[in-house]
Amino acid sequence: MTAGQFIFYTMAFIMVAFSVFTIFSRNILRSAFYLFCVLVTTSFLYFMLGYEFMAGVQLILYVGGIVVLIVFSILLTSHIGHKFPWPSKRKLMAGVTVSLAGFLLAVKVLCCYPFPVVHEKVKLPGMKEIGRQLLDLDTRHSGYALPFEIIGILLLAAMVGAIMIAKKEK
C-alpha cells in the first residue's frame, strides 16, 4: 500500500465515521462539529485530486460559511446541554432500511459498470484556466457565463430574502 492509498483510505474511514456520527449524535452542537469534520475531510479529498481551487472554495464556503451559520442558529434556538430522545424504533428501522437498500443497489451498479478511466497525466488547471473556461464565450465550448450570472442573482435574492424573513418586526 502506498502513501497515497493510505491517506485516502484513512480519509474515507474518517468521513464514513463522522457522517454516521452526524446523523446519530444526540447533542446538536456535537452533530454540527461532526458535519464540520466531514466537510474539511472532503476538501482534503479535493486537494488530493489536484483541484486546489475547489478545495479552497469548499473550505471557505462550506466550512467557513455554512457551518458557522448552522452553529449560530443552533446557539440562537437550542439549549446546549439538551440531549435529543432516541428516534422511535419504527422510524429508525424505516430510515436505516431505506438507506441501506439504496446504498447496496448503488454499490452493485457501481461495481458492475466499466468506467472508461483516462490514465494519462494531465496538467492541473490553474486559476486563470478555470476562469477562462467558465466565462468563455467565443470558442468551441461556449462556457457558463449565463449560469454564473443566474447564480449571482439567486444568491443576491436569497440574501435579501433571508434578511427580510429573519429581521424583527416593528
Binding site: 502506498t2 446538536i28 458535519l35 448552522i70 428516534p87 436505516v96 494531465v122 457558463y144 449560469p147 429573519a166
Partner: protein, 105 residues
Amino acid sequence: MIQEIPITHVLVLSSFLFFCGICGFIIRRNLITLLMAVELILNAVSINFVVFNKYLFPHQMEGLFFALFVIGIAAAEAAVAIALIINVYRRLGSIQVEDVAEMKY
C-alpha cells in the same frame, strides 16, 4: 497520487455519504439537523461531480463548474432555511418538526 485509487472506491464513499444524509433526513425531527442532512447529501453530490471530472474527462472542467454551482446553491439554501428556522422559533418557540403544523402567517 490519486491514480492508485480505483474510481469505484471513491464513488462508493460518496454514495455512502449520500445515503447517510437520506437516513438522517428520515430519522431526525429537528429542523436544523434536517438541514445538516441536506448538506451531507449536497456534499456527496459535489464529490461525485469532481471525481467524474478527474477520472473520466481530465481535459475538461465541466464537473468542476457544476460542483461550484452546487456549492453556491447550497449556500443560498442554507441562508434562507436558517432565516426561516429563526422566524419559526420566534413565533412558535420550538424547532421540532411536529410543532410546526400551521402554515398561517
